[in-house]
């Protein structure tokens, strides 16, 4: 509400919304956890200790131990690494190819635009996660294939978004002015169009990041993500399923980790959108 009444004297930073703050904090914790796990975890995440297997949560093992006596908390911390790396690279791949495609479609229009748009239509016909499963299954499990499989489906998302945002910008006066000044389409795209798309792209990137985390967990859950011994949240869930009668906590904590990480990113995305797009804020 306060954002509505306040007079706009120049471009001021909007007040941080609760979703933005909470989202930032959760995301920061999630990243920090992955970083800390590089140098320290309570136990060696992969260390086997059959004597302590399937222990319920306790002071020594706050989240319990798994069938091999590995510490669940340590595994979750180390699992964050995989989630982040796979998701970040997958989103970068998607944006790296999708954004130029979308910008090209908007700049050139006509046939180029049609081809790009129809291709994205086509890509959306394939259920993303299912196709990712098939790609990794056929190409062989592993982190790199998982990244490719998830990244492919980020391409059309970024292509469409960029095209949509860029199309509007191409009609704006400052772009027309640049055109009259004889600048090339490429130069205009780099200097004027893309910088003005960053806000929507950043928001979308956080959302795709969250989706990629879920996709990676899904792939690992069916055994197609990163391979053991590297811990990953999805793989932990798969393993936990066998002991769901005897050690249900094994299934609870990795899923909670996924949920909280995704929640944080979604909140961050919502918060960024509200902060960057005054139109949306007013409509609330």
């Amino acid at each position: 509400m306060s954002g509505v009444v306040r007079k706009t004297g120049g471009r001021r930073l909007p007040a941080a919304s609760p979703s933005l703050v909470v989202g930032l904090v959760i995301t920061a914790i999630f990243v920090a956890m992955a970083l800390v796990s590089l140098v320290w975890t309570p136990y060696e995440p992969t260390a086997l200790n059959i004597l302590n297997k399937l222990e319920a949560p306790s002071l020594a093992h706050p989240l319990g131990t798994d069938f091999f006596g590995r510490d669940v908390l340590s595994q979750i911390m180390a699992g964050a690494q995989v989630s982040i790396v796979v998701a970040v690279v997958a989103v970068l791949v998607g944006a790296g190819i999708g954004v130029p495609l979308g910008a090209l479609a908007a700049a050139r229009g006509g046939l180029v635009d049609d081809v790009v748009m129809r291709s994205t239509d086509l890509a959306f016909a394939f259920p993303a996660l299912l196709t990712a499963v098939i790609i990794t299954a056929l190409a062989g499990p592993g982190a790199v294939n998982a990244i490719v499989a998830i990244g492919i489906f980020n391409i059309p998302v970024f292509a469409r978004l960029t095209r949509g945002a860029a199309l509007g910008l191409w009609k704006r006066d400052f772009v027309l002015a640049a055109r009259c000044a004889g600048k090339s389409d490429l130069a205009i795209t780099i200097e004027h169009v893309l910088p003005n798309c960053t806000a929507v792209l950043v928001v979308q990137a956080t959302i795709q990041f969250a989706l990629a985390i879920v996709a990676e967990a899904g792939l690992s859950y069916v055994g197609l993500g990163v391979q053991p011994p590297q811990p990953s949240w999805g793989k932990m869930l798969f393993d936990a399923q066998t002991y769901i009668y005897t050690a249900p906590w094994l299934a609870i904590f990795p899923g909670l980790a996924i949920t909280i990480a995704v929640l944080g990113l979604n909140l961050l995305g919502d918060g960024l959108r509200d902060a960057l797009d005054p139109k949306v804020r007013r409509a609330r």
């Binding site: 959306f124 394939f126 259920p127 299912l130 249900p248 299934a251 979604n266």
Partner: protein, 317 residues
């Protein structure tokens, strides 16, 4: 209207053909000779050649595509390499599990999401809105396969109300079949419902601000009646689009959820076919799924037009 329909239908067919082509090419460039895979490493070259001929693998690629897609048109999806039965039969068998699962999930998610979204919109900014949308925010973040595990722990292991996994087959009776599907359907439906509820809420809020709501109130309708009779029908038009998009998510979701609950559906079939390098089954199945997504989106467009008289009825002026 009929021109609109014709245009959309042509686009539908072209997209479906393009999708099949993409799948075919992707499978064709994949390393590995299906015949060699079937016969194993020690196969004699002449047996191999014979099998290749029998499978039509010695034909030119373009011809193989035409044969395959031509078969599609008459319901022939090829013959499974591993089971030596028509892929169509395998698919039909498994679809009897996956399709009801996806539909049940869609119905559940809609039945949950729309009342919740409308309720939140009607209490905009108040405790009821904040609470339900808080839950929805979390719901969006929950991965469905984990939710499935949690539902198993709660309803199957702790309360013992429903089976934890497996599918008795529809022969065992409608009720037994539904019982086996209810937890997986919920696991799929709840996160989707969270998304749908958020969309519904913002759509209803937008509609409540429209002038015609004021007209309705000025007639003497209560706020409640104006909400349900005037705001909701308008607000649901965009919601239908999202429901169409969700079908694709649900299809993809079923394949992982079927693993959680060991259901003999299309998802399991995909996994088995891949594990056994039954490539023709994979190829036909993926194409079929893509086509069904395309068809559903087409149907959604039609539903959209039917719901919105501005699209279905031309101007009479």
């Amino acid at each position: 209207m009929s021109r609109y329909l014709l245009g959309r239908t042509i686009a539908l067919v072209l997209t479906a053909l393009a999708a099949s082509l993409v799948v075919f090419v992707a499978m064709a460039v994949l390393p590995g000779d299906p015949a060699a895979i079937i016969l194993g490493t020690g196969a004699r070259p002449d047996t191999l050649a014979a099998l290749r001929a029998e499978m039509g693998l010695d034909q030119p690629v373009a011809w193989r595509y035409l044969e395959w897609i031509g078969g599609f048109l008459v319901g022939d999806l090829g013959t499974s390499y591993t089971y030596s039965v028509p892929v169509a039969d395998l698919v039909a068998q498994r679809a009897a599990v996956s399709l009801p699962l996806a539909v049940l999930a869609l119905v559940l998610s809609t039945l949950i999401a729309i009342p919740v979204g409308v309720y939140a919109a009607s209490r905009r900014g108040r405790a009821g809105d904040v609470a339900t949308m808080g839950v929805a925010q979390v719901g969006v973040a929950v991965p469905n396969f984990w939710l499935g595990l949690m539902l198993v722990i709660l309803f199957a292991l702790t309360l013992g109300w429903l089976p934890a996994s497996g599918f008795p087959g529809w022969e065992a009776g409608l009720l037994a079949g539904l019982e086996a599907l209810i937890l997986p359907a919920l696991a799929l439906a709840l996160p989707q419902a969270a998304i749908l509820a958020r969309v519904t809420r913002s759509s209803v809020i937008e509609t409540l601000g429209e002038d015609f709501i004021r007209t309705a109130r000025a007639k003497g309708l209560s706020g409640e009646a104006a909400l349900w009779r005037h705001a909701v029908p308008n607000a649901l038009i965009p919601v239908v689009t999202i429901m169409g998009l969700q079908f694709s998510f649900l299809l993809a979701g079923t394949i992982i959820i079927e693993n959680v609950f060991t259901l003999p559906g299309l998802g399991r079939l995909v996994f088995q076919a891949i594990a056994q390098r039954d490539l023709i089954t994979v190829q036909s199945l993926v194409t079929l799924l893509a086509i069904s997504v395309i068809v559903v989106n087409f149907l959604v467009d039609l539903a959209y037009a039917a719901l919105d008289p501005r699209l279905s009825r031309g101007g009479a002026r």
